[in-house]
């Protein structure tokens, strides 16, 4: 089945007879090379198949296990505090939206209605992350699940806010973390009880986000009504590690509610007045989700607590990250 059709190279009939075994040997070698080639291709394709978009690489692996001050390297890189960095926001009402007579930088989409500048919204008790979700935390998720990611999402140090993730990536992280916290014995008891009672780890609604950022006294910025340098990372060229700015006056002691990276919410972008029952029945338009807080690249107007940005759910960007919320059933 593997001999040659032609005579041997450069020879006559006799030479052909003499070199026939060599030809057959050559054919056998060729057959073996073909088999080796196919085997190599199969093994290589197997490896490439796993690589697909981008799977966890060494960097993600290293990041996920690296020790960072204030975070637990052996527990999903979560903040090292009794509630894993979750801060309780007590139930109650707050002022949402902007009053242009007080805030000259207010945008039109921050107006409550045609007749009203701001609205009062009442929220039940909930918890929100003190920090934005970090590269280290997201790397732990990627490492555990093989979730596809852009290399740039994990290129910063583990204590930087994760960026270059989509809205759907953020939700996938939330779902995964919820299951991890439910299953882990290291989850603080109070937190586990909440989760067992039906509380969910997810993205904040824009109302939850805004109340946490400006408190119940309607501040323009998390620290008060006047812009102050040194409380937030804005107008700069890059993000900074989470919690880099000491802001004792900031609402509820939260970090980076202004600047650093925009934070995704689970509210669809639609005109005010805000309703606790977001209108999910109107499904005809293109999806656009609210993001809050501005980023390091923005100026003072965009890091106000009431600013509402809109983002496509598939967009990845250096300036967009997210923060977690724990919300009741």
């Amino acid at each position: 089945m593997t001999t040659d059709r032609n005579g041997p190279a450069g020879g006559g009939a006799e030479a052909g007879k003499a070199s026939q075994p060599a030809q057959q040997r050559g054919a056998r070698i060729g057959f073996v090379i073909l088999a080796v080639l196919v085997t190599f291709v199969a093994l290589w394709m197997q490896i490439q198949g796993r690589r697909a978009l981008t799977v966890p690489g060494n960097q993600a692996l290293a990041t996920a296990t690296e020790k960072v001050a204030g975070f637990q390297a052996d527990f999903l890189q979560l903040p090292d505090d009794p509630l894993l960095g979750m801060v309780e926001i007590p139930a109650g009402e707050f002022l949402m939206g902007s009053d242009p007579s007080v805030d000259r930088q207010a945008y039109e989409n921050e107006r409550w209605s045609a007749t009203q500048r701001q609205g009062t919204v009442t929220l039940p008790d909930y918890y929100i992350g003190r920090f934005e979700v970090t590269v280290g935390q997201y790397a732990a998720f990627v490492q555990a699940t093989g979730h596809a990611y852009l290399p740039s999402a994990l290129s910063a140090n583990p204590d930087y806010p994760v960026a270059n993730v989509t809205w759907t990536d953020a939700l996938a992280y939330c779902r995964w973390l919820q299951n991890q916290l439910l299953d882990s014995e290291r989850t603080p008891t109070g937190l586990r009880e909440l989760l067992r009672a039906g509380w969910t780890v997810t993205l904040p609604t824009e109302a939850e986000w805004e109340k946490a950022a400006r408190g119940s006294d309607g501040r323009l910025y998390p620290w008060g009504n006047r812009l102050q340098e040194g409380f937030a990372n804005f107008g700069s060229s890059a993000s900074r590690p989470v919690g880099s700015y000491d802001c004792p006056d900031c609402s509820y002691g939260l970090s980076d509610m202004s600047g650093n990276v925009w934070e995704l919410t689970r509210s669809p972008l639609q005109p005010y007045p805000y309703s606790s029952k977001d209108d999910f029945d109107s499904l005809d338009g293109d999806a656009l989700w609210v993001m809050r807080g501005g980023s390091y690249a923005d100026g003072p107007a965009n890091i106000r607590a009431a600013v509402r940005g809109g983002v496509d759910p598939g967009v990845r960007n250096d300036t967009i990250g997210f923060r977690l919320v724990l919300t009741g059933p």
Binding site: V41, Q46, G314
Partner: protein
């Protein structure tokens, strides 16, 4: 050494020679010593030059794939050169221009031009095709010269490369695999041989061998997404009247090479089985046509290589029928295994190639010439192939008149499959999933959302939370609001109507590019396909 130097002068002569098949071939013999080795060197240099093209430079892996291929050729050439110098042996060309090569190449080329006009990636693939041709020629030459003195230079590698590229090519990041696939094809041709009718010939059609082998690897490793295979199989129908176009191209090949019995029988068997299935179950067998366009292409250009198909008329008939049965069976089998079904037309060709001797032997006892050419006693002067062609033309014409080729196909309509699935008709739910999966792959957010819901609810498919979330995420990232809402609240499933872009993707009806279609016409088309919301929208706009 001395004889090597002595032979360095060129001698050439030009003649016309009849090939084994009886067709005319231009033959020119060029004798030399080591000077012919310059030719593959030039080809390798050309391959390197082509790699400088912006299309190839835009991707680093692609560029390196070309460079590696060129370096491989040069290294092989260097080793061959050194070995020949040492032994004093010489190498030469024999130029043979066989019609079965250049006619097939022209037919394939015209198909690339027509298809590429409606699907731009084909034209973007042009330089990659040139690179493959350069590599194929140099590989084939070096393989031949490593084993014997003379290489038969002609158009042989062109139809092999074109044929491979009509069915499968790797994405830029894995393009080096394309060169390996070509290498495997030529090695199969050179090393996997048998004795047939007193001659040692290759067993497998080289392109079908390479395609079959790599298809198995891609299926086994689950790496189909590293290739353009799925897109290639589905985008042929973007070219309008593709069946008629393929039919006409097929007639050219049939006229010159008497392959009508193979191609025609395969088509008739597939049409027949498809019709039988529809009549029995109430649903079409193939999703988008009576015979998928890529299968129709395969039965004209992939299984009709005279040297790897039976030589007797009844053998050809059986070969075609077996191909039809093979594709029909594999389509279901692959579907059941959850493997992309477009491999159906590729996987059975090597197996059929292996069976040609058995087929010829089995039909030898029958008076096959008399059986297939029964009219011969009455119309002695008519070439049997012309009669076979006439029958095929009538069959295809009838199928076209019945709307079974380029016309609208029931299986193309999602509402049809939704209803069939709801009615519990055979296989209809899996076909619905398959169809939605294809459309989701085409970036129809609506289809992704529906798929996600199926996997979430688990009514027509085994529930799979991860898969569901994956599809819903895709729908959401394509800005389909219902998909995002389902991600947030999986317990309260939200459906949405297809958007305009979804309709443009889902209503191609096995042919047209609808991207420029006016909205009203689009909705009218959607209404014809059974989309009630589109009918309502049309009524509301009156």
């Amino acid at each position: 050494m001395a004889s090597g130097r002595k032979n360095r002068s060129h001698k050439s002569s030009s003649t016309i020679q009849m090939t084994a098949g009886g067709s005319a071939a231009a033959v020119q013999q060029v004798q030399s010593s080591l000077q012919p080795l310059l030719f593959p060197l030039l080809l390798a240099a050309a391959l390197f030059t082509v790699s400088m093209n912006p299309r190839i430079q835009q991707n680093l892996v692609l560029t390196w794939s070309f460079w590696a291929a060129a370096l491989f050729i040069m290294a092989w050439l260097g080793v061959l050169f050194a070995s020949l110098r040492q032994s004093g042996a010489s190498r030469s060309f024999e130029i043979v221009l066989r019609p079965q090569h250049y006619i097939q190449a022209m037919v394939q080329c015209s198909l690339f031009l027509y298809w590429g006009y409606y699907w731009q990636p084909v034209y973007a693939h042009l330089w990659l095709l040139v690179g493959q041709l350069l590599f194929a020629y140099s590989f084939d030459i070096l393989l031949a010269w490593s084993r014997r003195e003379s290489y038969t230079l002609g158009f042989g590698p062109i139809p092999i490369i074109f044929s491979i590229n009509l069915f499968l090519w790797f994405r830029d990041d894995w393009f080096y695999m394309q060169f390996l696939m070509i290498g495997a094809g030529f090695m199969g041709k050179e090393f996997v041989r048998w004795q047939r009718d007193g001659r040692r010939v290759h067993i497998f059609n080289p392109s079908a061998f390479a395609l079959g082998l790599f298809s198995v690897v891609l299926i086994a490793t689950g790496t189909t997404n590293l290739t353009w295979g799925r897109e290639i199989a589905s985008t042929l129908t973007l070219a309008p009247n593709i069946y008629t176009f393929l039919f006409i191209l097929g007639l050219v090949v049939m006229y010159f090479f008497s392959i009508t019995l193979v191609a025609g029988t395969a088509a008739i068997v597939l049409f027949g089985l498809s019709a039988l299935y529809s009549a029995t179950t109430g649903v079409p067998y193939f999703i988008d046509s009576e015979i998928p366009a890529a299968v129709f292409l395969g039965l004209h250009l992939l299984i009709t290589d005279p040297s790897t198909s039976p030589r007797t008329p009844l053998g050809k008939l059986a070969f075609g029928a077996l191909y039809g049965l093979g594709v029909f069976g594999l389509y279901s089998l692959l579907g059941v295994l959850g493997v992309p079904t477009f491999y159906d037309k590729l996987l059975c060709v090597p197996l059929l190639n292996l069976s040609v001797i058995a087929i010829d032997r089995a039909v030898n006892s029958i008076n096959n010439v008399g059986l297939v050419n029964v009219w011969n006693s009455h119309w002695q002067r008519i070439r049997p192939n012309l009669v076979h062609m006439a029958i095929w033309i009538v069959v295809f014409g009838t199928m076209s008149l019945l709307g079974k080729t380029d016309g609208r196909h029931t299986g193309d309509s999602v509402p049809f499959w939704q209803q069939a699935c709801a009615d519990g008709l055979s296989n209809s739910c899996s076909r619905l999933l398959q169809l939605e999966s294809t459309y989701c792959g085409d970036n129809s957010a609506w289809a992704c959302n529906e798929l996600g819901i199926h996997y979430l609810e688990g009514r027509i498919v085994e529930p799979d939370q991860d898969l569901a979330m994956g599809y819903l995420s895709r729908a959401c990232e394509l800005k389909f609001q219902a998909g995002c809402v389902n991600l947030l609240e999986p317990s309260e499933v939200a459906h949405g109507n297809p958007r305009e872009l979804d309709l443009r993707l889902m209503l191609r009806q096995g042919g047209l590019n609808l991207m420029e279609m006016p909205t009203r016409d689009l909705y009218s088309r959607a209404c014809e396909h059974g989309w009630e919301f589109a009918c309502d929208s049309l009524v509301a706009s009156l």
